[in-house]
């Protein structure tokens, strides 16, 4: 590396080589900008990475299923030619219950449920699709005279209007409801209701009875629809392969990526972000700085309150960003045998949320600083589709375990072992004999995820996805269009619209704003 004093400043520095940072860097580089990506970890990917948690055993470190990254984005960045392959696509989802036969969503339901299920699915998707105009674009600002903002709002209005009277009424009726009530209206099967509620509360600080959970469900569906509704897929080599492909695309477009280069602060002079200072003291200059780090860390730690207004800092400080999900990785010396789960079902996503009441009970504990002894889980066995992730004949299990509070009353010192025990017990009930086959286990609690991915609160969305942290108020008014009050500083991470999940939309929109800004100047 040449000394920083000699090199001309970059057009842009992107902080963090997670998927959003990389999409942003690739987009900027393809537009001809000189881009440097600085990443604290030794490898790219962040929470969209692959980690070796035991010798020979690899697993997606955060998200383990790809369902939100649009084909268009993948094509634009030519991710296939940069090595992205899929081990499985359109993976099935099954609902696991203790001691009962699992339900494959869409089959094996009661007569009335199986008649209603497709109707329900289709109607929800229709409603969700009306939100697409808001989804992939830069959120409009409210109360401005700007035609772009007005047009965006008009488009949304038109999309909702196009739903027609009945659907529009239904959208207005259910948008403020909780998912528990919506599902009770529609279905009999506890397992089905549990599994459907799961997606409304996954990664959120909500139980099925929490207000606004229909909206979070619609939001997830809108995200899936905006991405082309192509179902769940599993990249070969884990989620890290997506990030590697993005990194390769960025490099091919001319971006430089430096790993093992944690940023200590954003440099500010003359009320403008002018570069970054690394923890080793090195200073690198750029015309713009784009942070994929969560908003709280970006503003309060990397920039510092003294360069920001009090009201803005107050809002940033109030962002709710306490993760409620833990990640469990197990090395298994044989394939797990989930009771009643077929070989085909095992290739897909297994949800353990046997009823609405079960989820609500699990959620209750977190309100009081406890974890749920009977957690809800999203389980995958990635080695079924991709044998390269473990030594021959052995397997890896990856599970999102919810609800696990960031702050545990008893403290994580003793709590971690107890949580692992409880989770293994829960898995043992679903797959008898599984415990004996575990050769190694890794449990990442929210504080671990915070440390590992340097995200405040260990929240994979960087900020709760809730009505007051959606769209034009995400993460806070004044920074919701990827620009920030500090000229030259942009956000591009999950804390921005449209939120977490391996999607890349925030990264692409942010890059667009950087390019627009340059045009305006």
């Amino acid at each position: 590396m040449s000394s920083p004093a000699e090199v001309a400043p970059y057009d842009s520095i992107v902080i963090g080589a997670g998927h959003n940072g990389l999409v942003c860097a690739a987009t900027l580089a393809r537009a001809g900008r000189s881009v440097l990506v600085v990443e604290a970890a030794e490898r790219v990917g962040g929470a969209a990475g692959t980690r070796e948690f035991a010798p020979g055993f690899r697993v997606s470190s955060g998200a383990h299923l790809l369902h939100l990254m649009s084909g268009r984005l993948q094509n634009d960045l030519k991710l296939e030619s940069h090595g992205l392959r899929f081990a499985a696509t359109r993976m099935p989802t099954s609902a696991l219950a203790d001691g009962a036969a699992p339900v494959l969503l869409g089959a094996g339901l009661s007569q009335s449920d199986s008649a209603k299920f497709p109707v329900y699915q289709e109607r929800l998707r229709r409603l969700a699709r009306s939100l697409i105009p808001l989804f992939s674009t830069v959120p409009p600002r409210l109360g401005t005279q700007d035609w772009g903002d007005r047009l965006a709002l008009l488009k949304l209005g038109w999309a909702v209007r196009k739903l027609g009277k009945r659907d529009m009424r239904e959208l207005l009726r259910i948008a403020g409801m909780n998912v528990h009530d919506l599902l009770e209206e529609n279905f009999d099967s506890e397992a089905l209701k549990g599994a459907l509620a799961f997606d409304a509360v996954l990664g959120a600080n909500f139980g099925p009875r929490s207000p606004g959970t229909v909206l979070t469900l619609l939001y997830r569906l809108a995200a899936e629809c905006a991405a082309g509704d192509s179902g769940l897929s599993q990249p070969v080599g884990g989620m890290g392969a997506v990030s590697e492909a993005l990194a390769s695309a960025a490099r091919a477009a001319g971006a430089t990526i430096r790993t093992g280069a944690p940023v200590a602060s954003v440099l500010v002079s003359d009320d403008r972000a002018t570069g970054v200072s690394l923890e080793n003291g090195e200073q690198i200059r750029a015309r713009s700085v784009i942070s994929s780090v969560d908003p709280k860390t970006t503003f309060l730690r990397l920039v510092g309150a003294r360069y920001l207004d009090t009201g803005f800092v107050r809002r940033v400080n109030h962002i709710r960003a306490r993760g409620l999900a833990a990640k469990l990785h197990l090395a298994l010396n044989r394939a797990p045998l989930f009771t009643g789960v077929s070989a085909q079902q095992l290739t897909g996503r297994l949800l353990h949320a046997p009823s609405l009441a079960y989820i609500e009970h699990a959620y209750n504990h977190t309100k009081y600083g406890e974890f749920s002894a009977r957690p809800i889980m999203e389980i995958t066995v990635p080695t079924i589709n991709d044998a390269s992730l473990a030594p021959a004949g052995q397997h890896v299990l990856s599970a999102i375990v919810q609800y696990v509070p960031y702050t545990l009353k008893e403290g994580w010192q003793s709590g971690r072992a107890r949580l692992l025990e409880a989770t293994l017990d829960a898995l043992e009930r679903l797959a008898p004999g599984l415990r004996d086959s575990v050769s190694s286990a890794e449990l990442l609690t929210p504080p671990d995820l915070e440390r590992e991915f340097r995200s405040s609160g260990g929240h994979w969305h960087h900020a709760d996805l809730a009505f007051d942290q959606f769209l034009m108020v995400r993460p806070v008014p004044g920074a919701a269009q990827y620009r920030t009050p500090l000229p030259g500083l942009f956000l591009c991470g999950a804390g921005c619209h449209p939120g977490g999940g391996v999607m890349g939309v925030a990264g692409r929109n942010a890059a667009q704003q950087v390019l627009n800004g340059a045009l305006a100047a």
Binding site: D271, A305, R306, F312, V313, R314, N317
Partner: protein, 399 residues
């Protein structure tokens, strides 16, 4: 001191000077101020006002909200809070400051005292600990309200320095405007700042509440031959309008309290641009104020010299006598007994706020229950209306 009766039985607090004020009050005119009961008028407004301009006065300003700001980052914190450059404020000096919200609209004005290297005191009109604490996020600083721990007494008027000297404050005459000095008066440690709200020679005394009555007594005794008199808020209000000082909730409403849009005021609009230092680095509201200063203010607080002798209270202002085009309103108005002029402070829309312009004030007069309207010519003039040289003279002349 402060009674322990339940707060609902005693909704207003009493200041440490209350017993003395109660004894001197002849017209029983008390008003609530920031949670305290305080004197509006002791005897007669005119009598009290003329004591400010011709003798010496005591005014109890204990209800001023006081905050202690201390810690390693205190200066950095305050520099980000207020629009002035706090780095330039030396120890034992006071600065008049304003602070704004993100939109560059005034939250409050007040005086900032630098007590030592890392400790400051901020005196303000409104309670606002939430804003001050939120401003402390990211700074190593302690912010606490100390209103009840400090008794405050203003000693103002041409003979005020002589009164203080007679009372035993040696070398008090050496204090320059905005200086802070420390003295002992009997048992009491008294901090004296050469500050005030009258635009005249004057001082403010800051002391522990338990010494309040003793200090009051000593001053009253020392000032007996120099016409000292306790004054209430009404007399002070005349003096502050003559001095051109703005008053919260009269000439502006704190941006934290306004409900309707467009009612907030920026320091540029209030004619306080001299308090805004764009070169000192970032402060809350800087970006908005910079934009406003580039675009030009939409309205401005001005001084008015109104024809006739009827104060233009609440008068709407017009470009012409025909009253067709409204361009602002009077916020404070009074007949100035010293200037012998009918003066007012008013908010006037751009571009009509230039010094020397003529506007028309629509004044309503109640004449034995019959309302009369009078369209009076008013000229926009420089502030302050009254600024005697003695307010700045150091040492002050012996009176």
């Amino acid at each position: 001191m402060i009674e322990t009766a339940p707060h609902f039985k005693q909704p207003l607090l009493k200041t440490p000077f209350h017993a003395r004020a109660r004894a001197l009050s002849q017209v029983d005119s008390f008003i609530p101020w920031a949670g305290y009961t305080t004197v509006d008028v002791f005897t007669a407004v005119e009598q009290e006002y003329f004591a400010i301009r011709n003798a010496a006065t005591l005014y109890d300003l204990t209800p001023m909200v006081k905050y202690r700001v201390a810690g390693r980052d205190a200066a950095a914190y305050l520099n980000r809070l207020v629009t002035r450059n706090v780095e330039k404020l030396n120890e034992n000096r006071v600065a008049y400051c304003v602070w704004c919200n993100d939109q560059g609209h005034l939250i409050d004005d007040g005086t900032l005292f630098r007590l030592d290297e890392t400790e400051y005191r901020l005196c303000a009109a409104e309670r606002q600990i939430d804003w001050l604490l939120d401003s402390a996020i990211g700074f190593e600083v302690l912010v606490e309200e100390v209103t009840e721990q400090i008794a405050a007494l203003a000693v103002q008027g041409p003979t005020s320095c002589a009164v203080l000297k007679t009372a035993g404050l040696r070398d008090v005459e050496k204090l320059k405007p905005f200086d802070i000095g420390r003295f002992t008066l009997g048992e009491a440690d008294v901090m004296v700042s050469r500050t005030g709200f009258t635009g005249d020679l004057g001082y403010e005394l800051w002391l522990e509440p338990e010494h309040a009555e003793d200090v009051w007594d000593v001053l009253m005794l020392a000032g007996r031959t120099r016409g000292i008199r306790a004054i209430g808020s009404q007399a002070l209000n005349i003096a502050r309008i003559e001095a051109g000082f703005i008053s919260p909730n009269v000439d502006f409403v704190s941006a934290e309290h306004t409900i309707r849009t467009g009612r907030d005021r920026s320091p540029l609009e209030l004619g306080l641009a001299w308090l805004v230092d764009f070169k000192k680095g970032h402060f809350t509201g800087r970006r908005a104020l910079l934009q406003e200063s580039q675009a030009g203010v939409r309205r401005r607080l001005v001084g008015l010299d109104v024809a006739g002798n009827k104060p233009a209270h609440n008068a709407l202002l017009y470009t012409q006598q025909n009253g067709k085009r409204e361009i602002g309103a009077v916020t404070s108005a009074v007949w100035s007994p010293t200037c012998k002029r009918n003066i007012a402070l008013a908010m006037v829309d751009a571009p009509f706020h230039q010094i020397g312009s003529t506007v028309w004030a629509d004044i309503y007069l109640n004449r034995e229950l019959l309302w009369e309207r009078r369209m009076s010519r008013a000229q926009i003039v420089e502030r302050p209306f009254y600024a005697p040289e003695r307010r700045r003279a150091t040492p002050p002349a012996e009176f």
